[in-house]
Symmetry: C2
Subunit: 140 residues, 2 copies
DNA sequence: TACTTGCTTGGAGTGCACTCAAGGGTTTTA
DNA sequence: TAAAACCCTTGAGTGCACTCCAAGCAAGTA
């Protein structure tokens, strides 16, 4: 019931607890976004202080780190929420989680291919402009 | 589908002209999007038939192909419009166009790096789940 | 005590890139 | 000639991922 007296002190039982602004500083996610993540079920419910303020744990930070990786893949928030639900539901959802991640992996690979393609076009075009700039005139 | 020939008396006989639904079929862009592209200045003004309907040329299709590549890079519509403006303004904007493309290239490379990173995490996680599925239990 | 800072909530607002609707004209086909 | 198919415009609506607002509580500081 009554733990952690002063706000941002370190350990009381080897358990560090972070305020929302500390998590904002560490993750780069805004406080708005952190609250929103919790609201939509993308975070397990975060522990609270006696006055109702959020106290994040290192485990929460790890989860946010992983979520950040999923975001980086371009996965939709809806899919990330789905994944979070599966994790909460327990071990019997492992197969579905793997499938979700494998689908995402296929999409990431496709996206990398697309970007690599577009990059080649960009390279070509930039070379063209470089020629134009160096010599007086070029084509197109 | 065959009305594009009947209109070609106004221009040279070798000039193919496409209706908006032909362009939709060829590019995969919806008619809505094609009109919208023109409205916001992402297309040079498309030629019209005597009754005001759009008649796209092969040059327009080429431009749309290039725009598609820019889209694939993740470039914003605002930046693509800027690029289109520069092209319309003529040869003296070549330097700025090159800079815009080079900035985009840097962003694409960064994005590919990010995706490659996230892909490694995905690979690791999927391997974890594969182990769990095959053997009885694993970790996290 | 008064002020400042930080946090809470639900709900509204924003920016992006489309996407659709309404109402009307034109062209092709039966 | 009439129906069906196609196209036009302006303006409103959609979905996503945040982002901000208002009103209020709580804790630390002068």
């Amino acid at each position: 019931m009554s733990q952690s007296q002063s706000q941002s002190q370190s350990l009381s039982l080897t358990q560090t607890r972070y305020t929302i602004s500390e998590v904002e500083a560490r993750t780069g996610l805004s406080q708005h976004t952190l609250r929103w993540y919790e609201r939509i079920g993308l975070m397990p419910h975060v522990d609270r202080s006696h006055s109702g303020q959020r106290r994040f744990t290192d485990k929460d930070l790890d989860w946010l780190g992983f979520v950040g990786k999923l975001r980086a893949t371009g996965m939709s928030v809806a899919d990330m929420v789905r994944y979070a639900e599966l994790v909460r539901e327990g071990e019997h959802t492992v197969e579905e989680r793997r499938e979700l991640l494998e689908r995402t992996r296929r999409e990431v690979r496709a996206r990398i291919g697309e970007l690599t393609d577009a990059l080649a076009v960009l390279d070509y075009k930039i070379d063209m402009y470089a020629m134009k700039t160096v010599s007086g005139k070029g084509q197109q």
